[in-house]
């Protein structure tokens, strides 16, 4: 059983109908802050459990669940000639797969198409029409009349459901933990509860009850009660102390999970995340497929622990659906870019058409900043640190001292993996400039980038390189000196004197400066970056920052 599609409307950041198609196994949702990643997880969890922030939604209804611009629009409209109907929130999950889900089939969904799933609506309760009419006639409505709202939770067959009757179970693992009054974590309680069979659950609650009864029967307590009874003439009725036995799930809130004698909420946050995730992944009731929602696993975890966690998550995704949000390129690369869903401006783009080679490249060399590329508006790809510094400097000079990142332009060192990054940029239609050395062979370079040059030129991808091949007689050992990298090109543009001054050296010969710059690439680049002298840049650098 898996969720194929999530529809969210008017819930928190999502105003217009937002549709997210999910993969069967792993889904990695990436996006900028405020893009709505967490809201998606919250929405899925809410529709499956009826819980919001660990509490029953019925008791937690508030205006802040609604999309804010929409609320303003609604309130604004009340004073006009065309007042709007009170807004409603919709979360819809389309479900498929084996197990007993036929009872959820029907066309009771927002698209009115046959399918299987459930919807949760927070909407105006028509029973309150009269009260609402009075309210708006009185004017002065400044908030949503949430007291006239109700939660309607139904299958696509239009039958009401409860969390109990939904065969799909979710575990929400986030770093912000919500607790019962006694400090036990709600989610861990829920996960453990779901691990148990109905018989086991019954015996737990019976043991708990016995424990309380035993407490009451204890001699000391009886003596105390006798004393209270004798002393108090508060009421004609008997007065005594007792443990509360009334609530049906009392044990959940009074039992706490321990790890090596330490209460769960006293162990480190990082370990908490790992334990929660592992418990959720281990949960394997035969018929209850389950969905694991993991929010930013990189929080609180060291690199090694993160690796462990990712391995567990990956190993489990054959029989579970996992939805992860992350800001970490490492997590995304490691879990597999093919399962990545990019959330941008409330729209989604999937990366599942990436070539197998590229996917496995980033999986193995997970340190690359793939997410920086995916989340920026424009990127300049360079080979190494020195190129990065020079490009930044050139940009700064052209733009009144602003760094590219201040204009949301990322300058990313990609080593020799230009083509891998370009594949991503091409799929995601991200504006990208590649700044590359021609290394003395323009034909080879043009062959390498042939998919992006000439007739294959793509609107969003520019390859910037120097078409001129420079030559000279300098040799390094037995090899010819490469005159066609950034440093010799800078020297060519500015001349010996200017560069001597910038680099704080005093070479008489051009060749000696070439050798110095070749051997101190990063230092030289840093000095270029920090200098106040005016510098001329090679044309291909200027091309990339236009």
């Amino acid at each position: 059983m898996v969720i194929n599609k999530v529809v969210i409307q008017n819930f928190k950041g999502f105003k217009d109908k937002f549709i997210l198609n999910l993969n069967d196994g792993l889904n990695i949702i990436v996006g900028d802050n405020e893009a709505g990643k967490s809201t998606i997880l919250e929405a899925i969890n809410l529709a499956l459990t009826g819980l919001y922030n660990g509490r029953y939604l019925h008791n937690e209804l508030s205006q802040y669940l609604f999309n804010e611009p929409l609320v303003k629009e609604y309130i604004g409209s009340l004073a006009t000639a065309k007042p709007q109907h009170p807004p409603s929130i919709l979360i819809e999950l389309h479900i498929s797969g084996g197990g007993e889900i036929s009872f959820m089939e029907g066309d009771g969904n927002s698209e009115k198409i046959a399918g299987c799933g459930l919807s949760l609506k927070i909407e105006f309760n028509e029973d309150f029409r009269g009260a609402y009419e009075t309210l708006i006639k009185g004017g002065d409505v400044t908030t949503i009349p949430i007291e006239y709202y109700h939660v309607v939770w139904k299958t696509f067959a239009r039958e009401s459901i409860t969390a109990r009757s939904i065969p799909l179970k979710s575990a929400f693992i986030d770093s912000s933990s919500i607790r019962h009054q006694n400090g036990s974590d709600i989610y861990i309680g829920k996960i453990i509860k779901e691990l148990l069979s109905p018989d086991e659950l019954v015996s737990v609650s019976q043991s708990h009850r016995k424990m309380k009864e035993h407490f009451m029967a204890d001699e000391a307590i009886e003596a105390i009660n006798k004393k209270i009874g004798d002393a108090s003439k508060i009421s004609a009725k008997e007065v005594r102390i007792s443990v509360e036995l009334s609530s049906k799930n009392a044990w959940e809130s009074s039992l706490t999970t321990y790890l090596d004698d330490i209460p769960f909420h006293f162990i480190g946050r990082g370990e908490q995340s790992i334990v929660k995730t592992n418990l959720a992944l281990a949960h394997n009731k035969a018929q209850e497929a389950n969905i694991i929602l993991i929010e930013e696993p990189e929080n609180h975890l060291s690199h090694t622990k993160l690796n462990q966690l990712i391995k567990t998550v990956k190993d489990s995704c054959t029989n579970k659906q996992i939805i992860v949000t992350t800001h970490s390129s490492f997590v995304a690369n490691k879990l597999g870019l093919g399962d990545l869903i990019l959330l941008n401006n409330k729209k989604t783009i999937k990366l599942n058409e990436l070539s197998a080679g590229t996917k496995s490249f980033f999986e193995k060399i997970a340190g690359y900043d793939t997410l920086r590329l995916m989340l920026c508006t424009k990127a300049i790809l360079v080979e190494g640190d020195s190129d990065e510094l020079v490009v930044q400097k050139a940009y700064q000079v052209q733009n009144n001292g602003k760094l590219p990142i201040e204009d949301c332009i990322e300058v990313i060192s990609v080593g020799v993996s230009f083509l891998r990054f370009l594949e991503i940029a091409d799929k995601l239609k991200i504006s990208v400039c590649v700044v590359t050395d021609n290394d003395g062979n323009v034909a080879a370079l043009e062959h390498k980038y042939e998919s992006y040059l000439g007739i294959n030129k793509k609107g969003n991808i520019n390859i910037c390189y120097d078409k001129v091949v420079d030559e000279g007689n300098l040799k390094i050992g037995k090899k010819d000196f490469n005159y066609n990298t950034l440093e010799p090109k800078l020297l060519k543009e500015n001349g010996l004197d200017v560069l001597n001054k910038i680099l704080g050296v005093n070479y008489a010969q051009v060749d000696d400066l070439h050798i110095y710059m070749r051997n101190n690439k990063t230092d030289c680049a840093l000095q270029v970056f920090e200098t106040k002298e005016a510098i001329n840049y090679p044309q291909y650098i200027l091309d990339c920052i236009k």
Binding site: F103, E105, G106
Partner: protein, 361 residues
């Protein structure tokens, strides 16, 4: 495999359904038991609980109307109408006679969006057509086995629904007794000839793969011998039931009860009073049911307040008696385990041949 079991009152139809359902459910098969009246639905629930302590997760018990609303109409109403079905509006006769069929909300619903009971099956069939057969496809995946009890109460479009159920992948077991057709679900013009006790013909006529069994349940486990024999006489053409109840209590069988002894009799035996309608005068101090409402129930002792045509039949078994009245009398007679007392005027007492007249001791 679809099957129809026809058997008389007290022969254990419901028991058969309940046992079979419990057996299937224990094998992990999800089953639906549906029946016409709420009393029968409760009876079925009670019997399941009596047997296994609770209603197993895999057994779903619903009345026919509630089944049609939740599984027939609501899942695939989308292409026909958008509003929520609020509930059922019981109608006798035909609802919204002058509305256009194409006007869904007027033809099928009250203003407050309660669906007319007589058109519920019709709308189910319509939803199925509009969704290209998805309604019954879904039902057959929700329930592998479907039981319909009190099949004699279904008529008109209900039969179309049965037809669709037969054609689906679910196995359907129908049980019923044409003798007990005291009312039809509605008075639709469609399939008029099958209404009431002629319902059996529907299955014989249709080309469906349905096996009809009229012989396996012929023992009336409920009623004492003479009660069983009198009820047999109402339907001489149908297989005759033999009584399986040999328990003697000291007051057993059929009695003619003089009007003047009714109150003494009620206090002495505490029977349930069965009457034709609310208009029939009875004692308010003892339990009372209309004939139709008593269907499906097992009672120890009853007192029957017969209608005039029923008295006519008791006097002369060849006398004319309408199908409905005949069925009601049959139902009333076959409720009791031990004794049936029929309230009669002094002038009729001597004319009911072979029935012992009750006299207080």
């Amino acid at each position: 495999m679809n099957k129809l079991i026809i058997a008389s009152a007290g022969s254990g139809k419901t028991r058969f359904v309940v046992n079979d359902a419990i057996d299937k459910a224990s094998q992990g098969i999800s089953v639906l038991i549906t029946t016409f009246t709420e009393a029968c639905e409760q009876e079925i629930r009670d019997r399941i609980v009596e047997k296994v302590g609770c209603i197993p997760e895999k057994i779903f018990v619903q009345t026919w109307f509630s089944f049609l609303i939740s599984h027939g109409v609501k899942p695939y109403q989308g292409s026909l109408f958008a509003f929520d079905v609020r509930g059922l509006f019981l109608v006798n006769g035909q609802s919204a006679l002058y509305s256009k069929e194409s006007d869904i909300s007027k033809h099928y619903f009250t203003d407050r969006k309660y669906i007319y009971s007589d058109k519920l099956a019709k709308l189910t069939v319509k939803c199925n057509q509009a969704s290209d057969g998805k309604v019954f496809d879904r039902i057959s995946r929700c329930f592998k086995q479907i039981y319909v009890d009190e099949i004699q109460d279904l008529a008109g479009y209900d039969l179309e629904v049965l037809d669709c159920l037969f054609k689906s992948n679910a196995d359907v077991l129908l049980v019923g007794d044409p003798r007990q057709a005291t009312y039809a679900t509605h008075n639709s013009r469609k399939n008029k000839k099958y209404v009431k006790s002629e319902i059996v013909n529907f299955f014989e006529d249709s080309k469906l793969d349905i096996e009809t069994d009229i012989t396996s349940l012929t023992i009336n486990h409920r009623c004492f011998g003479s009660i069983c024999n009198l009820s047999n006489k109402l339907y001489p053409a149908l297989p005759q039931a033999t009584s399986g109840n040999n328990k003697v209590t000291g007051h057993d069988g059929i009695f003619a009860l003089p009007v003047e002894h009714v109150s003494e009799y009620l206090s002495r035996f505490i029977p349930t009073q069965l009457r034709d309608s609310v208009k029939t005068p009875v004692s308010d101090d003892f339990e009372v049911l209309n004939f139709g409402k008593s269907k499906g129930l097992t009672l120890d002792r009853v007192v029957i307040y017969p209608s005039a045509p029923m008295v006519g039949w008791l006097k002369n078994n060849d006398a004319e008696l309408t199908q409905a009245a005949r069925a009601k009398l049959y139902v009333a007679l076959t409720r009791a385990r031990h004794s049936v007392a029929i309230v009669l005027k002094a002038s009729d007492l001597k004319k009911v041949n072979g029935i012992e007249v009750y006299s207080p001791k």
